[in-house]
């Protein structure tokens, strides 16, 4: 086998991940494993109504129960805390862990009980009497957008959290000049990443240190800062421990209200307090739902298939409290045309409040839904012109020679070779044979369809959507840090400034540091620090850690190596240019005997100050804080902005069948070719891809948080919220390609959202191809069995 492009001694090699052993052996340490003496347990009373006024709360009977220490309600907490923060400017939307005076969604927390154990806490919850005056609820997002009377937050003035129409280029002129145009609507259903581990937090107020210790299953930028601000404590009075394993997240493990609630309770009661969501609490009240969008797309194109211009309106239902949810309409601005040369774009982004559970960041931060809209557009153009769907995409690809390429919304794409990836996918799937297979299936009475998707994964994450969507926000960095140190015994330890939720950061950092220092990554320790001992970081969001943490770790390791070279030059009395670093030792290029080995070098650093170059600090450690490549600029007045720096690319091809008698979808074939530049850890990238494809199949066919007309949440358990199991996930055939990024030290790009960027679009494409011969379309995700069955009923007797 030939070496993977960009492979080094350890980078790009098929090596075991550092984390697997302890997870597979059941030796992980999750928040529920944190043992603190005298731990008390929290249970939550949640609102049964989507919208209601709280007339009164009587907690006397609950408080009288043996083993109950406190019943906390919204009034007391509001006195002591500040509102949780939003990503958009909405100062009159007050968001606190416990509802005060009104409830705004079914599942919202109304009261918290602290008791000796969770059983007693739940007994006490049942004894709390709340008198509600039920109010009308805003459930439909279009109604929410239009209504001036029925408001989720009357003080905000309307239900609109963000509304802006961006126009980049001559959209009207391009539409007028084009041969054809068409429009359509596609809906992305309210789904999420639903982790195996629900959110959990342990908060402990240490009266001696006067400090709040927090262990949480969290994946969130600036978590400790936000807890401190809400609890009105100085930043250095909160210590969030990052050495807690997080059992799944992909964006949703935010848990700010959980930490503020337990932090307040821990301080008030003087004992450690744990809140571990049960599944119902997680699904209904955890504020962990993802984007819920209606896209209306107009596209202008020529007879040869050239797509000239696009108008997209995206209406996103954020639920009751905005949080960072509206920003998920902002991130896709940086790849609004996908991999295609589209000359002009109009993008109307609308984010509204409704009486539903809050929306949170989900894998891709709004990109996967947007990719579905873009890809449905390409499918529809191809179908309209009776062109092959892959051919049409190929015709519109940005050409590999055109990079760096700036799209109409102002973002520069770093690199790409979309034609080659698409050609590899065509070969991998034996595309012509696949078409023949589909047609054979059709001939025998099946509904069969081929789906394709050619999608981008922006990676490297910067904060550019924050100033774009909030004029009061001028954040232009999402830095990440790493410290690498070598101890007196010569072993290497790297400190990272975040918790991990399955991304394999220990493997990433050890691989990169090992590559630079030429030391086996298996011998390198990677430690998760805590918020007080760490340097600035922004957590593993935005498909950024290979680039940002990998980049910071590499630079810190290089600084150590440079330091060792200086020490060697001083002691061997040679120029650094005449020295060679090999396997941790340094020798003269022209004299192998003129050499300092690793032990000698470390001994100098840690003890022999007299052998160090004058002025050099003793010890051997380096820290580096990396700025996002290509970042640091503010948006222009017309909303052009450099969003993420690096662009991974994936081509999906799949064959599905739909049983006309039942509506059941099967996926007999699935192919993907993926390009994330230089692959650092092949096993991790493969895992991301497979998981991402499965996640996207869930979004396309199964997963939805359903609400009825009154705003009741109907999908609070796994009987009704359907995660695809291994039985629903096809055998995926994979290939890869490497177009290095010129912006990153190893040429790496992001891979944390891989697979998920394109699989929803590919599956929807395939189902629609299967339906097309019968004149049917399905444009509302997830496309459930029951929906297809109802459609196919009309074909009864024809099969």
């Amino acid at each position: 086998m030939t070496d993977r492009a960009g492979a080094g001694r350890f980078v790009g090699r098929n090596r075991r991940t550092k984390e697997d052993r302890r997870f597979i052996a059941g030796l992980g340490r999750y928040v529920a494993d944190i043992r603190v003496p005298d731990l008390k347990h929290v249970a939550l009373l949640t609102s049964p109504h989507a919208s209601a006024r709280i007339v009164s709360i009587d907690a006397r009977a609950a408080l009288a129960l043996d083993g109950v220490y406190a019943v906390l309600t919204g009034d007391e907490l509001a006195e002591a805390t500040n509102s949780l923060q939003h990503g958009v400017e909405a100062p009159n939307i007050i968001w606190r862990p416990l509802a005060q005076n009104v409830v705004r969604y079914a599942g919202e927390w109304v009261a918290a009980v602290v008791a000796d154990n969770r059983y007693i806490a739940e007994d006490a919850i049942e004894l709390i009497e709340v008198d509600y005056e039920v109010l009308p609820a805003v459930v439909d997002p279009e109604d929410a957008f239009a209504s001036a009377e029925l408001l989720v937050h009357p003080d905000h003035g309307d239900n609109i959290l963000f509304h802006r129409k961006f126009v980049w280029g001559g959209v009207d002129d391009d539409f007028a000049a084009a041969d054809h145009s068409l429009n359509f609507r596609v809906k992305w259903g309210r789904n999420s990443t639903v982790p195996i581990e629900t959110f959990g937090v342990v908060s402990h107020w240490d009266p001696g240190q006067e400090m709040l210790d927090v262990w949480a299953s969290v994946q969130m930028p600036k978590y400790a800062d936000q807890i401190a601000e809400a609890l009105r404590l100085p930043g250095n009075q909160i210590r969030v421990h990052y050495d807690v394993d997080v059992g799944g997240s992909y964006g949703v493990k935010r848990g700010l209200k959980h930490a503020v609630l337990t932090g307040y309770l821990a301080r008030k009661l003087g004992c450690p307090v744990r809140l571990l969501e049960d599944r119902l609490e997680n699904m209904s009240g955890g504020d962990a739902h993802g984007p819920d969008r209606i896209f209306d797309v107009d596209v202008a194109f020529d007879g040869d298939g050239t797509v000239r211009s696009m108008r997209m309106r995206a209406l996103d239902d954020c639920g009751a409290y905005p949080g960072r949810a509206p920003l998920q309409l902002g991130k896709p601005v940086g790849s609004i045309v996908g991999p295609y040369k589209i000359g002009s774009v109009a993008y109307e982004a609308i984010s509204v409040c409704t009486n539903k559970t809050g929306q949170v960041a989900v894998r891709g931060f709004g990109q996967a839904p947007t990719n579905v809209a873009i890809e449905r557009m390409m499918d529809r153009v191809a179908d309209y012109l009776k062109l092959d769907r892959l051919d049409l995409r190929r015709r519109n690809f940005i050409q590999s020679a055109e990079f760096p390429y700036t799209i109409p919304s102002g973002t520069e794409y770093d690199s790409g070779d979309y034609q080659t990836v698409e050609a590899k996918a065509r070969a991998l799937s034996d595309y012509d044979a696949l078409i023949a297979e589909r047609d054979t299936l059709r001939g025998s009475g099946s509904l069969a369809g081929i789906g394709v998707a050619t999608c981008l994964e922006p990676g490297g994450g910067n904060a550019a959507f924050e100033p774009l969507f909030n004029p009061k926000n001028d954040t232009t960095t999402w830095m990440e840090s790493c410290t690498v140190k070598v101890d007196r015994l010569g072993t290497v330890t790297a400190l990272i400034c975040t918790s991990s939720s399955g991304q394999g950061h220990q493997t990433l950092v050890a691989t990169v540091v090992g590559e630079i220092l030429e030391i086996d990554p298996a011998d390198i320790r990677v430690v998760h620090s805590d918020s007080l001992s760490s340097l600035p970081g922004n957590s593993p969001v935005a498909s950024r850690m290979a680039i940002m943490l990998g980049g910071a770790a590499q630079r810190a390791a290089e600084m150590l190596r440079e330091r060792l070279m200086t020490i060697a030059a001083h002691n061997l009395e040679r120029d650094e240019a005449d020295l060679v670093y090999a396997d941790g030792a340094i020798h003269a290029r022209d004299d192998d005997a003129a050499k300092l080995d690793w032990k000698q070098l470390i001994r100098i650093c840690h003890g022999q100050y007299h052998l160090m170059p004058p002025g050099m600090e003793p010890g051997l450690q380096a820290s580096y804080t990396m700025q996002v490549p290509n970042g640091g600029t503010m948006p222009t007045a017309d909303g052009r902005v450099q969003m993420y720096p690096c662009f991974s690319f994936e081509t999906h091809i799949t064959l599905v069948t739909v049983d006309p008698g039942t509506g059941k979808v099967a996926i007999p074939r699935y192919f993907i070719v993926h390009d994330c530049g230089t692959v650092i850890s092949p096993a991790i990238v493969k895992g991301m891809l497979l998981g991402g494809i499965a996640h996207g199949i869930g979004a396309a066919l199964y997963e939805k948080f359903e609400y009825d007309e009154s705003g009741q949440h109907l999908s609070g358990t796994f009987m009704d919220y359907l995660l695809p199991s291994s039985m629903e996930i096809p055998d995926v055939q994979m290939d890869e390609h490497c177009t290095p990024s010129p912006l990153t030290p190893l040429g790496q790009k992001g891979a944390g959202e891989a697979g998920y960027m394109g699989s929803p679009a590919a599956v929807v494409s395939a189902v629609n191809d299967a339906l097309a011969p019968h004149g049917l379309t399905a444009e509302s995700l997830p496309i459930k069995l029951g929906t297809l069955s109802d459609m196919l009923r009309t074909l009864d007797g024809k099969d």
């Binding site: 969770r118 059983y119 739940e122 007994d123 049942e126 049960d278 599944r279 119902l280 049983d659 008698g661 039942t662 509506g663 059941k664 199964y702 359903e706 109907l714 999908s715 009987m719 009704d720 359907l722 695809p724 199991s725 039985m727 629903e728 459930k784 069995l785 029951g786 929906t787 069955s789 109802d790 196919l792 009923r793 009864d796």
Partner: protein, 293 residues
């Protein structure tokens, strides 16, 4: 999701269990495999004062062939029934149905009697019992009685069991040889191993001329309790059960079925699916009978 407090007993004999059950003031509830009861306890949807665990009563487990039928003890694990040679040999329809009951893991715990007593409208074991006209045995401190499955299962989670009774066994008849017997079991669920959106079962006896001499066809989850499709059965007997014969029988389902809509499928979708599955189950059974040599 923690159960409210309850008392717990684990009797080792049926008499002892019946005695506990007769104390209605304790609001007793029987637990066997716990695959439905445990989540209901955790969600506090049921709040018994006393939980009677019948897992230690050895006489409640086992599969035996007797009196022209197969009797299965209520506490027999679904997995044990699935792998029982008696079930494979004499009750192939039940064997097929059991493959659709939950997952391997839940079948290792879940019991035959527990599923019948729970009477979920989508339950495959209930459907099979109704299809074959199984007999349900109920025991109390006062004695024992038998009910036909269709008289026992009254509706969703509703049975004719009195509060002081324990479901102790189910007996499935074995069809006397009036032709080659074939079985078909068809189910659609959103994901593999989910609760059935609709399930259909068919057992036919086909003579040497390919003519159907006897037919039992039933559907689950399109009515409050599994229902025999007598019009379809009547239409099959005396005919060669081909697609051409089955198709004209399917519209009769529309007047019999009364499916409810839920998040997974509408009522009309369920009727469409039921027609498909009934047809497939009959054709599967017919093919199975032909392959029986």
């Amino acid at each position: 999701m923690k159960a409210a407090a309850f008392d717990f007993v684990q009797p080792s004999s049926l008499d002892e269990a019946c005695e506990h059950l007769s104390r209605a003031a304790d609001d007793p509830q029987i637990i066997a495999g716990g695959q439905s009861l445990m989540p209901m306890l955790a969600m506090r949807l049921v709040r018994p004062g006393l939980v009677i665990d019948i897992n230690k009563i050895e006489t409640l487990s086992g599969v035996v062939e007797q009196d022209g039928g197969v009797t299965i003890g209520a506490c027999t694990r679904q997995t044990d029934a699935e792998t029982s040679p008696v079930v494979s040999g004499r009750l192939p329809l039940l064997r097929k149905a059991l493959r659709f009951v939950g997952h391997d893991q839940t079948r290792n715990r879940g019991t035959i009697g527990g599923s019948l007593a729970h009477a979920d409208p989508s339950a495959e074991i209930c459907l099979t019992a109704v299809t074959l006209g199984a007999k349900i045995t109920l025991t109390s401190a006062q004695g024992q009685r038998d009910l036909a499955a269709s008289d026992f299962i009254l509706g969703p989670m509703t049975t004719a069991r009195e509060e002081n009774e324990i479901l102790t066994a189910v007996s499935f008849p074995i069809w006397a040889a009036d032709g080659r017997v074939g079985t078909g079991f068809q189910e659609v669920s959103s994901r593999q191993s989910d609760f059935a959106i609709v399930a259909a079962a068919a057992q036919v006896a086909i003579d040497d001329d390919g003519i159907c001499r006897r037919a039992a066809v039933a559907v689950a989850n399109a009515t409050p309790a599994p229902i025999r499709l007598t019009a379809v059965e009547d239409g099959l007997v005396g005919q060669e059960p081909t697609a051409a014969v089955v198709d004209p029988l399917l519209p009769s389902l529309e007047s019999v079925l009364e499916p409810e809509a839920d998040l997974h499928a509408s009522g009309t979708a369920r009727i469409h699916i039921a027609k498909t599955l009934v047809k497939r189950a009959i054709l599967e059974a017919t093919e199975d009978a032909a392959a029986d040599d």
